[in-house]
């Protein structure tokens, strides 16, 4: 059976298997987005939810001013603490962010983030696709700069200005669109700032048709933060180099352009599981408590050199 699968895979290594797990992820993403935006009547009234559940930060990027939002945005809340008139260390928000990161890492991006779901849906639209290009590697560093400069340093220097939310966050712009559709008094206040944010959102939307998750790859500060936890999180990926037949199917299946055989717990991996499904030898697996007991490609080559 395995030989048959391998033969088929060698014929077309990049071919994505029709897996129930892929559509299962879409279902989980949709349910997560619905739960985080359960105040559906807000979309018609143009008013935001004011219940006590907004004390809790949601794990993904979901603006608290979105009419549907029933939780608080972690990045907005973090900036609120850092950029207050009197500095307060954000114990609660940072604690929640570290909790989500240590437990899930970037599973949050792959399964729980509503803005990630939006980008996934946009990428499904048939359009010109160019997911691998030269500057991709360098653009990835931008999100760390966004986290450091726009989310931490500037709010600390300029009080009462949530720089990231104000000038960049496309999730806030979609919230603004929903609010202004339903609320005429807000619609009258649309000005230059909204025009700027609409341009940013437009660029993200159009590029999402061409590149897989451009916002997550290049700009999202939350993805940058959770990325640091991918190596240590309880949810991890395990690569068994002894099972690997070097067919490169996983590398070709990865839309985040990660090589899971070299870096199974890369900071860029959003745990979508495409590589796991693509592997004909089941050399990759991911889940809670998947440790590092298996040998990586690097360790295997070191052992091989030592044997020689």
């Amino acid at each position: 059976m395995d030989e048959k699968k391998l033969e088929q895979n060698q014929k077309d290594p990049g071919k994505k298997k029709t897996g129930r797990s892929g559509s299962r992820r879409l279902v989980i993403q949709s349910i997560a987005a619905l739960i985080q935006n359960a105040n559906l009547k807000g979309f018609f009234t143009g008013k935001i939810y004011t219940g006590t559940t907004k004390k809790v930060c949601v794990p993904g990027l979901n603006c608290y001013s979105c009419p549907g939002a029933v939780g608080a945005c972690p990045i907005g809340s973090l900036q609120n603490f850092l950029g207050g008139l009197k500095f307060r260390f954000p114990y609660y928000v940072l604690g929640l962010l570290i909790f989500f990161g240590a437990l899930l890492g970037r599973v949050v991006c792959g399964f729980l983030c509503p803005f990630g779901l939006l980008q996934d849906l946009l990428f499904m639209i048939p359009f010109y696709k160019k997911n691998r290009f030269k500057v991709d590697r360098f653009l990835r560093y931008l999100k760390y700069a966004v986290l450091l400069v726009l989310v931490i340093i500037l709010p600390l220097c300029i009080p009462l200005t949530p720089t990231y939310c104000k000038y960049l966050c496309p999730s806030g712009t979609t919230a603004g669109l929903f609010l202004s559709f339903a609320n005429s008094s807000l619609r009258r206040r649309l000005g230059k700032l909204f025009a700027w944010k609409a341009v940013v959102l437009g660029i993200v939307v159009v590029s999402s048709l061409i590149v897989y998750r451009p916002f997550c790859k290049y700009l999202c500060p939350l993805g940058a933060f959770y990325g640091f936890f991918n190596r240590f999180a309880i949810f991890r990926m395990h690569f068994d180099a002894e099972k690997c037949v070097h067919c490169q199917a996983c590398v070709k299946a990865c839309k985040m352009n990660v090589d899971p055989t070299k870096h199974p717990n890369s900071m860029e991996c959003i745990r979508c599981g495409d590589c796991v499904r693509a592997c004909p030898q089941s050399a990759l697996e991911q889940g809670f408590g998947k440790g590092h007991s298996g040998k990586t490609k690097k360790e295997m080559s070191q052992n091989h050199t030592a044997e020689l």
């Binding site: 939810y49 004011t50 001013s65 907005g76 114990y91 928000v93 604690g95 949530p162 936890f229 408590g289």
Partner: protein
Amino acid sequence: MKSFFKENKVAILLLVGAAALIFVGLFRSQTSAVLSKAVRICMECVGLG
């Protein structure tokens, strides 16, 4: 079970640290600060001012 703790010791330490931070935040009523910001429309966030 023992190997689970061994292989996830960093994550477990981070989770304990995170729980401690959350409790300090709760003790300092930081949830109220989060709530008061989240229940009002953030004009900067939605691009209105």
